[in-house]
């Protein structure tokens, strides 16, 4: 086998398991990603172009979904980038009829100036900053449990039935402060109690233990904004 190809394969298979390695690989192959994007948009992409962001995302998808049976990785990644950009353009067609608020013309004044702005930018920025702080705190606390945001994204329930089972368990824990206290102290998810209290299969909760860690942490004190975001879930436990 070609040593270059062997090196790429090694990088890809390492990046599939390690998110930091995936980021490194995307950074290393940024020229390739830009080249593929340039082929599609017929110009050199700028850092602020959404097409480049889509291309980087497609490259990440290629890393995650690659296997040796699919041939050369770079060809596979190029195909993924191209397909993603095509999908992105199709999706953007729906918004072509709409006029951008930022669109400027010499004759007419800016639309943004004519429309009354109901948003309070300062308030929003404050809330965003507070949210960011909460998320950072949550991430830090999650690290103590050995869990990252990417892990949770990969461990989130995909089926509605599984999601409802997990939400029932979280709702039960929220009404039982002892369970949350034990969870914070022991840094272990009390699966047996949750399964027994919520009437859910323990096996189902075990499969989504990392996801439960994140949601149970949000349910504890200190994450008001995040709890507000998922309040609908915490209220009923079932999707309305």
């Amino acid at each position: 086998m070609d040593p270059d190809k062997h090196q790429i394969m090694t990088q890809v298979y390492r990046a599939k398991k390690d998110n930091a390695a995936a980021d490194e690989m995307i950074e290393a192959y940024m020229p390739f990603i830009k080249a593929e994007t340039a082929k599609f948009i017929n110009r050199s992409p700028d850092q602020s172009d959404d097409e480049l962001s889509i291309a980087m995302f497609a490259f990440y998808e290629a890393i995650r979904g690659y296997s040796r049976l699919k041939g050369s990785f770079l060809k596979f990644a190029a195909l993924k980038i191209k397909n993603r950009l095509i999908d992105f353009y199709r999706r953007e067609k729906r918004h072509r009829i709409q006029v951008s608020l930022d669109e400027q013309s010499e004759d007419k004044p800016d639309l943004l100036d004519t429309i009354r702005d109901e948003h309070d930018e300062f308030a929003e920025s404050e809330v965003r900053e507070a949210t960011k702080l909460e998320i950072e705190e949550l991430s830090a606390q999650m690290q103590d449990f050995g869990v990252s945001m990417t892990d949770i994204a990969e461990n989130s329930p995909k089926q509605q039935r599984t999601l409802e089972a997990c939400q029932k368990a979280v709702a039960y824990a929220r009404n039982a402060p002892d369970i949350l206290d034990d969870f914070l102290k022991t840094k272990r998810v009390p699966l047996a109690k949750l399964a027994e209290g919520a009437g859910v299969e323990r096996k189902t909760l075990e499969r989504h233990r990392r996801y439960l860690v994140a949601v149970l942490l949000i349910c504890t004190n200190g994450y008001e904004i995040l709890r507000g975001h998922i309040m609908q879930v915490l209220k009923g436990g079932e999707k309305t």
């Binding site: 998110n19 995936a22 980021d23 995307i26 950074e27 602020s48 959404d50 962001s53 889509i54 980087m56 995302f57 490259f59 990440y60 998808e61 995650r64 979904g65 049976l69 992105f88 999706r91 965003r128 900053e129 507070a130 949210t131 960011k132 909460e134 998320i135 950072e136 991430s139 990252s148 945001m149 990417t150 949770i152 994204a153 990969e154 989130s156 329930p157 995909k158 999601l163 939400q167 979280v170 996801y211 994140a214 949601v215 949000i218 995040l226 975001h229 998922i230 609908q232 879930v233 999707k239």
Partner: protein, 392 residues
């Protein structure tokens, strides 16, 4: 659905929706804590059942093996399938089942002699011989063991689907058997079913009715040590019914040739009744199983005894008339021995015979009757006359 940006990476961002589900999406210049409404979510890796090259190769290999096995099995089956049957009727009736390619599929025999011969054949010879070679070898074994001798005639019944197969088998067997100085009389059985048992039954039926003569002939030849008539091999052109064709010549010859020779006395008085009398001699021969009809024939001599009583009185005259049929078929030696032995005990029982005597006396020539008739008739006539007188 609103998504809260939880984490941003080089190529993607982690978002949390309002159902507390964490997802990955394209990072379109998002910031952590930002709320977005229409993200480009990451496609889940669809676990499509991709058939790998290895699995394709395995499946193809298994399929090829199956095809190979089934084809070879079919070939083996078709080779071992009986296409034609050749039955040679000598001392041992041996059926030779022949495949499509002309090779011998199996050899069978219901008689003990045939089984012994087949045992010896299997010990000496290889398998997959052709029909002619196998027939030749089997006959050679029979000759070695004395069941048949050089110059004998053998009936060969060929049961084939097509006339071409029949002809080819016939010619092959004729050629091979000629090497052994044997004479073959062949016959065809038109095959209706491929089932061998039914074919055998048909062949046996034909054999019983038709092939008795050829069996007897070789024995006569053995005793006489004279070569038999040219081989009656081959079938007539019109033979689809072997019983009519082959049997006809030998069956007709029996009454004409054999009856006069064995039954000397009846030839004088009642020539028509005596054809049966010749058969008891055949029953004494060592080949009874082949012809069940012959087993019944030994009954014939009993009715013939009374006639022999009369004939015994005139042995010399009968011997003079017998030689005429003997010219065509040479007389068998055991036959003359019987007539004198039987005639001696019959002689004293004259009074009983005299009641039936008038019939032969009428046919006999006058000069013969005049010489011997007065002696036995005298006491009877006296007795009858005395009785008549008493009654009167």
């Amino acid at each position: 659905m609103k998504y809260l940006v939880m984490e941003c990476h080089e190529g993607y961002a982690v978002l949390m929706d309002e159902d507390a589900v964490f997802v990955k999406a394209a990072d379109l210049h998002y910031e952590v804590g930002q709320t977005v409404t229409d993200p480009i979510l990451m496609e889940e890796n669809k676990s499509t059942p991709v058939i790998s090259r290895r699995s394709i190769i395995r499946i193809a290999t298994v399929a090829a093996c199956l095809v190979l096995v089934s084809f070879s099995g079919y070939q083996f089956y078709s080779r071992n399938m009986t296409d034609s049957v050749v039955l040679s009727t000598s001392a041992a009736e041996i059926e030779m089942h022949i495949g499509k390619d002309g090779s011998v599929v199996s050899l069978k025999s219901k008689s003990d002699i045939g089984k012994e011969i087949l045992k010896k054949y299997k010990e000496q010879h290889k398998k997959n011989q052709d029909s002619a070679g196998a027939a030749n070898d089997i006959l050679a074994i029979q000759i070695e063991n004395g069941y048949i001798s050089s110059g004998d005639t053998i009936d060969v019944f060929i049961d084939a689907d097509s006339s071409s197969d029949y002809d080819s088998y016939k010619t092959e067997i004729e050629k091979e058997i000629i090497k052994l100085d044997l004479k073959v009389s062949g016959s065809e059985n038109s095959k209706t079913d491929n089932e061998t048992p039914s074919v055998n039954d048909e062949i046996k039926q034909n054999n019983e009715s038709v092939s008795t003569a050829p069996h007897e002939e070789p024995k006569a030849e053995e005793t006489s040590n004279t070569p038999a008539a040219p081989p009656a091999v081959g079938k007539p052109e019109n033979d689809k019914k072997p019983a009519d064709d082959k049997p006809a010549p030998p069956a007709e010859q029996h009454p004409e040739h054999e009856t006069p020779a064995p039954v000397d006395p009846p030839a004088v008085g009642k020539p028509e009744e005596h054809p049966e009398a010749g058969k008891p001699e055949e029953a004494k021969k060592p080949e009874p199983p082949a012809h069940p009809e012959e087993d019944k024939k030994p009954e014939a001599p009993k009715p013939a005894e009374p006639d022999k009583g009369h004939e015994a009185l005139k042995p010399e005259d009968k011997k003079e008339e017998a030689p005429k049929p003997d010219d065509s078929l040479k007389p068998k030696p055991p036959e003359p021995r019987r007539s004198p032995v039987i005639s001696e005990p019959d002689a004293p029982e004259l009074p009983e015979i005299k009641e039936e005597a008038p019939k032969p006396e009428e046919k006999l020539p006058e000069h013969e009757i005049k010489e011997e008739a007065p002696k036995p008739e005298a006491p009877h006539e006296h007795l009858l006359k005395e009785e008549k007188h008493d009654v009167i």
